[in-house]
Amino acid sequence: MKLRLRWVTLAVFVLVMSVAVGSVGVAQELVVATGADPVRLDPPDQTDNVSETVLRHVMDGLVEFDEEMNFVPALATAWEVVGDGEGYRFFLRQGVTFHDGTAFNAEAVKYNFDRIIEGQLRRTALLRPYIKSVEVEDEFTVVMYTHFPFGALLNYLAHGASLIQSPTAIEEQGEDIGRRPVGTGPFAFDRWVVGDYLTLTANEDYWGGAPQISGIRFRVVPEEATRVFQLETGEAHVVVRVPPTEVPRLEAASGTNVLVADSLRVIYIGMVVHKTPLDNVLVRQAINHAIDRETIVGQILEGFGTPADSPIAPLTQGYYSAGGYEYNPDRARELLAEAGYPNGFDIKFWTPNGRYLKDYETSLVVQQMLAEVGIRADLQVIEWATYISSLFDVDKDTTEAELYLLGWAPSTGESDWVLRPLFSSDLFPPIGDNASYYANPALDERIQAAMRETDPDARDALYAEAQTIIHEDAVWAPLHALRQVVGVRSNVEGVSILPIEIVLVKDAVIQ
């Protein structure tokens, strides 16, 4: 009996020690609570934020964005413009292998981009208009030729669609590609239990140095209150999309912290400009003057936004402020009277509910503000899939929209991906996304010229002109640029948030 007790004591002692040692020395798994499952883990064939987040840990691009949207060399160590701008030459990192042992080289780069521009993937349309061909010069040098001198090519290569994956894996997996991604990144894919979690393990041979955590577990927690609870209990180290109301509590608690970063996403009221009375620029300006953006940001978003003065967010390359419209209901009434609507008018106003932070609440407040100046907006909440079909799968004659709330974030990080799809006169729905049906040759000209301009300063000047035109014509009523709120445990460091709404934990450390 005595003997047995001694063994038990020893066993308990060993157990306690191993737990104690385990929590000090050995790298731990980091748990990230996301709101949804990834959809498809194939870079050029995904468009959702969670898939891209996972992929940016498993794969590298030739170049990547940092938190200020600067370019950072990744699989390309250097690059130069070829000739008069017909392409870029990339010098590739040597000695890198994919997680499946395949060597990373120029052929792998060519294989990835050929697959996109010759295929029919969800992001083919993003890259095919620019990339003409990819030529292998030697094992670690490629030249990417574009259809015309294209100034923003690096932005497109830093895009999530351009992450490089193993050609062997693509060949072997066939139709199932997108379930088991293979890249060169700091973490290798481990397991995906759809609806529950996805795990990655640290790649000890990563060219940028081994990660300081043993792996990452992305856990699917759809309910935001539950995510916050999980952060408080320590079940999750990092949680995305923390509701603003929870921020003070998490900041006050000892174990938790909140990180805030600007997003490139601008929330706006779109106006269908060929419908009366929105065809009158004075009316559109009046709507802009009627909205108190400071109040929306302060009261509805609890400060987690920035009042917008352009369709483009400040961190987007090419952003320019043409001054914006100050809140001035008197001026709005004057403009309405001048336009021939001294008693205001009735108008339809569409809004989603739950798609963007406080979208419906924002619309309610805008409705109130419009009522102040005499505009009687009939607010209609529409379910998301129906919403985007009603906006984008119609044409100029059949659209039933008048005012609508929407958000847009250029996933390439530069102005072209706002201005061209949303303001070009040849991109009306159903071909493109210009759902306000605004057409202005002067604006088209600037957008096209900027796209072909390789000198960054000249390009910025063109974008400034473009944003001035949009401001004067009051095509939209931009409301605010969103801010991202991420909760982290206080003992976790090295979490970074990209303005393209991606949370990276590659360099995370658990103290």
Binding site: R122, E223, A385, F392, D393, S411
Partner: protein, 306 residues
């Protein structure tokens, strides 16, 4: 008897065919374009059109229907529009999770419900009765997600004895099952109470009482057996209901169940997943009802389906 069983089983077939046809029509009548949802908001028309073709959505509806039905008959439910994964694989594990949650949740509900309802009927119009019926009322009327969050806060955040969400261990099952169980217990408790009170008013009970049987024996041994039939019906219905209706519990507790999958697929217009999911739910619902009918025969020897 066995003939009746087989006849009942065969009636499941037209039910399933009906579900198949109706869901097919409804999801195709619902506005919203699956190809657009797959392509994303910023996709151009060519990409949307190409995806529509890939998914086979550009074919005439009757053609789509025939090909869908013939695939289903061969056991092929297609691939999810979004993930590209076989629907069969996507749904099987989620279904087992939901089944687990539903069975445990309904068991919890049954125990709570019958005990509470029994106590109520044993001491009618006493403070015990009021208390038990009050709990039942809360269970019926309080929103599931609210109960879930309260449990999560007490047991997960404050006491730290149970995980707040996810799956994998039995501990993960406790809070969701309790939440679902409490929500369903109310109905069972009320049904048990009223059914028991009705039986307790009958002559044979009075006679038994006169013979000197104790009240406990009367209520829980003799009356309950006769009062249990309507309760079984309710339990069966609730089991069927929680297969699809546990979606709120699943969402709050991040439980990877079928309800969450199907509701998410409705929002993204993932037709193959919606269809297979609803078919499975309908089948289970009908099958559980079938089992309940069979159970009647076991519980009440007077019932013989000849």
């Amino acid at each position: 008897m066995s003939q009746y069983f087989i006849r009942r089983l065969l009636t499941l077939i037209p039910v399933l065919i009906g579900v198949l046809v109706v869901t097919f029509i409804i999801i195709h009548l619902t506005p919203g374009d699956p190809a657009r949802m797959v392509a994303g908001m910023d996709a151009d028309a060519a990409t949307v059109a190409a995806i529509r073709e890939q998914l086979g959505l550009n074919r005439p509806l009757p053609v789509q229907f025939v090909s869908y039905v013939s695939n289903v008959l061969r056991g092929d439910f297609g691939r999810s529009f979004h993930t590209g994964e076989q629907v069969r694989n996507e749904i099987a594990w989620r279904y087992l999770n939901t089944l687990l949650l539903a069975v445990v949740g309904v068991s919890v509900a049954t125990v709570i419900g019958i005990v509470a309802g029994g106590i109520s009927a044993r001491f009618p119009h006493s403070w015990l009765d009021s208390a038990a019926m009050m709990v039942a009322l809360i269970g019926i009327s309080a929103p599931v997600f609210w109960i879930g969050l309260v449990f999560m806060y007490i047991f997960g955040v404050q006491l730290r004895i149970l995980p707040t969400g996810g799956s994998g261990t039995w501990q993960h099952l406790v809070l969701p099952a309790l939440t679902l169980g409490l929500a369903l217990a109310g109905m069972i408790a009320r049904m048990t109470r009223s059914s028991l009170l009705e039986v307790l008013g009958q002559d044979y009970i009075r006679t038994s009482k006169a013979y000197g049987f104790s009240a406990n024996v009367l209520v829980f041994r003799y009356a309950l057996r006769n009062a249990i039939l309507p309760v079984i019906t309710v339990v069966g219905l609730q089991l069927g209901y929680s297969l699809a209706g546990a979606v709120l519990t699943e969402t709050v507790f991040a439980w990877p169940g079928l309800g969450r999958l199907v509701v998410g697929s409705i929002f993204t217009r993932d037709y193959p997943v919606i269809q297979a999911g609803l078919l499975l739910v309908a089948f289970t619902f009908a099958f559980v009802n079938f089992l309940v009918d069979m159970l009647y025969a076991l519980v009440d020897p007077r019932i013989r389906f000849d």
